[in-house]
Point group: D2
Chain length 428, copies 4
């Protein structure tokens, strides 16, 4: 579920699972009795899937009055069906919130600017969607007078510390009742909870505008290749087009330029074209916040092309020393986003710097997509610090060749003294 | 030329160029007069090409007694021909040194361990060959009683500060005489200097075991695509095999395991197989030590597969916090190697740490190569800190789910206080 | 209590308090009934004070069989009296362990080498004593077949993960029973627990070889000056000797040289002489691991003189670039030690580096102590990289003055290009 | 001389020296012939001392038309006398610029905010005055149509790259002529250059608002104590007042609050009061930009009290994680300022962040000054993140004690796994 805080997700994934039989489609009248809601109102980010459906019903059983919240961050879900199901589960209020535009402009763009790459590989597609969904979710209890939320703890505590967050999957009364998939399935049957037919793939897929991630099932076994899957069953790079597509991408202040289009439409277009060439698939083991290593498989097409095009633009237009400092802040940014601290004073601080560093990151760049690879072809930039004359012969630039002699002599002064002393001491 | 110190290479490249006519093949008797070598003996790393040949003759003219040194780091050069040419240029002593084994074991292995990537892209193929070649070169003047060297200043000053390095390309008397390729060509004609026929490609190619780099000519113009070249004239990924090759790679202490073979043979084998799939090509703009941006195109097949396989192995077997510290040291390592400080107290210090961090980096990993991509398939490791039971459902590991509640509450305590204060101050 | 893990100490301090009446000295027969010890054996680091005495008795009441452990890290406590009290509290086994020597050699020395200063001020006297005491404590349950410990969780879990740590002060059944000092006092009366007469100072003092820390009572109120206290009631700097003491200190490999004496005796001697001059008092607000800010007042005489003398020695003998890297690792080290991760792979990794960096840190240095200040007077070192001739006039060293011109020109090349571009873009 | 770029100062100091005889006071008519100024106009930062006076005359001899520039950054110099001397040296234009206010507000304040401490000791008094003086100097050639400057290369090249900087002390024609003090003295005699009587102290003193530094003469010999000097001849801490002075200092946005006074007056007042107590003297060996170690003795009274009061304020009011990031940037800032890169894109970038981090750094703090020590007494702040109730007993804050158990369990999960694996591998 995209709605899990990082610490929770590592464990919670185990509850995600597929159902063997499809008995839950029986259209029953609402079976969930309207028990006295003595425990107050709780807002639940709800996807219509097995996991959130069971939690929803379980919360009602515990005496909570549940308001469901569906956040659309670009996943291909049937929001209408989920809405329709709500009354059957005894829910009176359902809020569907489209946050795709904010997701692109306020979360994906800063992440692209920062070149954030968790553990040198992961573009943070899930980690980014959480603070975005959560920020919207926090508004609901405040609006509706509720005092409780499910999921997204760090964001809630940071933006609205008076709201209490409950986490059923970490409450013994919940996790002792639901030890695995079969318990959840049994529960849906007992309560007539309708859940969607799930294809028989053995892993759990989670999707948003930024990426698709796969977990559970086979992916947990590291000796099981995932990429071979792509290369065999799936279209995969082997079946990707045999001719490259060439795109022209333009950045201004480190952000994709919106000329005739919205950021959202641009990003979705990039996803489509880039995805066709199987760009941006990774299968990694990652270190979770809670100190375990876990496995993740991610597909991030548009994010990947932007990562490369932006990085290349940055090298062209950013001063070397500034970039080294920014690189360190980018590492910190990736760690903060991954561990759930997007909404924190330190992440706000770091993102402010990264935005500042992007003031001159501006360029048009031609990119070729081919078989899971992104190639930068050519470019032009009014802001480029690359100066062809300086590196070519016949025009002397702002320095004399002889200057380099002094530069090297001074740089090696320290090395010479070190050597002298070493030999003196060794000689003794 | 691989023999340039970083600061020099940016400029010196301009002197590398191709000859239009091939008049220099005339087999003349040694025309270089044996002028009085009043300036002492100088050791010159010599490749037999246009540039080093001219410098050699020019040094003789300046009254130096020249000893030539040919270092073999795996480039496909005709060392025999270069040797034969020497007497014709008036050189009495020529040393050919094969340093490929040291290059792999003492330079490429530590670099692989450090995951050094200069500016997030470049695997440092040229930067690594310099300190290796230089270390051997420094031995020659000490052995032969010479007091002077050409090239490799930082290494020389670090390992043998009493030897003076001369850098003709930064001496006004040299660079005012040779303003460009035509001056060099004219000089070879005048002095009957034989130089090899150069194919008509417009860029200069530089090769060693680790990589091939291309520079000068078209590459200097950033609007000129380089990758399209690969995709059109060259075999390139488009024409790379349509079926993947699958390799099994084994690391011990972060180093490729030598079972039945030498490191060198293993690395050469990897270069061959990986190169076939066009893996490891980059075309970047990089920040030179002297503060300019310059363009580089590199092909690093074995280095690239090792980078990925090693990184993946490391994530599996290295503690998270240790890895974060090591990651920072890897950034520093890349910068030091790139700027020529391999032989320095700080690089020695950093490399010592990186080696220490590798003690448990041990794994067997299956890797698939396909169309310029490296995919990790499966793996097994006695040292893996990844624990399937911990992330899967039915076995509770070393912690209770409820622990995560306290973990998150404590982590958000600071966020809550910050928010409280912010609202209090804002409210005023 | 030195025995608290960092997270706990911030809270636990509130339980430390002084008793107004001294009714607990009544010499009663052991009143603690020998209840069935059904919960197994637990090892408790015990100081004989109010807090640990109550916990001890409470644990017995809960059905644990308690083994007491007294660690001597140099505090001026009456270990003999504490031992004698044990049988009266129903304890059969008491272990007293002197760990002062290990504390100095294995904990204080590496900390001195690292120049670890938490938040630019605190020399980590309490943080260092914990892993030392804990390492010894962990041996006891292993030796005695116990499965439980109190305190020192991170160290226990790192060195002996099979032992479970219980933390009464975080168990609702404990903290709901003991809401404050009066509850604890009442409890000692009821159970006839003898505790030492406490002087009427309003803060809690905690002492070990490295430092004395003061907390609770007045120190919690930040508007209450602590230093003024020193200057009024206490001898303080104002009454410190009006003539300086001058010491000669010698380092080898960054560690105080033991010539005629043991490390322990040397450190104790330094504490005495330095303390006389009121050196090393700080009164700070510090950020706790759990995200709160708390106040600490510390006196670290020998630690402070060593910090300064070592830092100065390091600047003399360590290469500049190595020192910059080491400085970053020192910051990390301070954070790890403060947050309780001394026994962790990352701290082991960092300490290994710091020890390596000290190989050449060797010098004899004269230090003057006067009114809370440490002045370095003079020094001599065979390893000094400071070279008087190089900075003085008449002897030219290893470089020509003109070299600096090239050095500066090359360093400013980047600045010029940046300026050119800025003006071009601004001009548009 | 405050006017030297860092690289230069290490060497240039050798030319600073005292004159034994005072023959140069003879009031001669201008002896400097008005040679043809064929080399163009040059702007020279001029102090009226031996060194700059000689350079001035020497530049005239070389055919330059010299404009003198006297920058007042708070040194106690006789500017009027220096002005009067100018015509006697053949100078037509003299500009005296008072930059004290800018120095405090635009250079010292940001440095205080950053807590910049070069090599853990030095508050950068000289390094800060250079970019301030230089920024003003750069305006003069632009205004006067000159194309040349002396000193301050990095700043000139950064702010006005079209102006060329000449550095006589690095030109062989200068340094071969002036090998030492006696040559300079001889030159003043020959040319009737009036220079001030210098007291007979053996070191060179350099003063500005921020600090006084001492170099050359005895200070070059590290075995010669400098502090003992303070304690013997000078008033020194031993003779400092025996009663403390107590000040109340208030910060807003990390900057000393100006209520009834200007920044400049506040800073000067602090210098006076603090200096009286001998606060802020250091005697260190520092690593110069050019790779040498050199010795510096500095007195920075107001800077030192502000450093401590600000640091303490920051710990109170700044989020922990933000402060850790800011701490790293502060280290970078100190390095940039010391090596002369104040006017650079990266320093601008870093200073922007530091200013941002100060938004909530606001507090009133009582500080006691006594015998070279600064003690923070009490404080109050509307922005304090320190919360007395949270650390004291009877009020439970925003968390339950039991939360810490989960926090510690999760934090030790990684340690347990690491241990398990280690023992498994070791057992084999």
């Amino acid at each position: 579920s995209p709605a899990l805080s990082p610490a929770a997700s590592a464990r919670a994934r185990v509850v995600h699972c597929t159902l063997k039989t499809d008995s839950r489609r029986r259209e029953l009248a609402p079976l969930i009795p309207d028990v006295m809601s003595s425990n107050g109102s709780v807002v639940l980010a709800y996807s219509g899937g097995l996991h959130t459906s069971c939690i929803l019903v379980w919360l009602k059983e515990q005496g909570y009055d549940v308001t469901a919240y569906l956040a659309n961050t670009g996943q291909k879900e049937d929001f209408e069906e989920a809405r329709k199901k709500a009354p059957k589960l005894g829910i009176k209020k359902v809020f569907t919130e489209g946050v795709s535009r904010e997701f692109v402009e306020e979360f994906i763009w800063p992440a692209t600017q920062s070149s954030s790459l968790y553990e040198d590989s992961y573009l943070l597609g899930t980690s980014l969607t959480r603070p975005c969904t959560a920020r919207k979710q926090v508004e609901i209890p405040q609006r509706e007078g509720a005092k409780l939320c499910v999921w997204f703890e760090l964001t809630c505590y940071s933006l609205a510390p008076r709201i209490k967050v409950i986490a059923p999957w970490r409450m013994p009364e919940f996790y002792n009742q639901f030890k695995g998939c079969s318990d959840l399935t049994e529960y849906t049957k007992q309560h007539g909870i309708p859940i969607p037919v799930t294809p028989k793939n053995p892993w759990n897929m989670d999707e948003n505008l930024m990426h698709i991630s796969y977990e559970a099932g086979i992916p947990e076994d590291p000796q099981e290749p995932s990429a071979s899957r792509s290369l065999q069953e799936d279209p995969g790079p082997a079946k990707a087009p045999n001719t490259p597509d060439i795109l022209e991408i333009e950045f201004k202040k480190g952000v994709l330029l919106k000329v005739t289009n919205t950021s959202l439409a641009l990003f979705m277009y990039l996803n489509e074209v880039t995805g066709k060439h199987c760009v941006g698939r990774i299968d990694i083991v990652e270190n979770c916040f809670i100190g375990m290593k876990s496995r993740g498989i991610y597909e991030t097409p548009a994010g990947t092309i932007l990562y490369h095009a932006h990085l290349d633009t940055e090298t062209f237009t950013m001063d070397w020393e500034v970039r080294k400092i920014k690189q360190g802040l980018g590492l910190k940014c990736a760690e903060l986003v991954y561990t759930g601290f997007w909404h924190s004073p330190e992440c706000e601080f770091v993102c402010h710097f990264i935005a500042k560093s992007q003031e001159r990151v501006e360029r048009k760049v031609q990119v070729s997509l081919f078989k899971d690879q992104v190639y930068i072809l050519g470019w032009e930039s009014p802001r480029s610090l690359y100066k062809e004359e300086l590196v070519s012969m016949n025009v002397h630039g702002d320095y004399e060749l002889i200057d380099a002699t002094g530069f090297i002599n001074i740089n090696s002064l320290r090395l010479k003294e070190y050597h002298h002393l070493q030999s003196k001491v060794t000689a003794k």
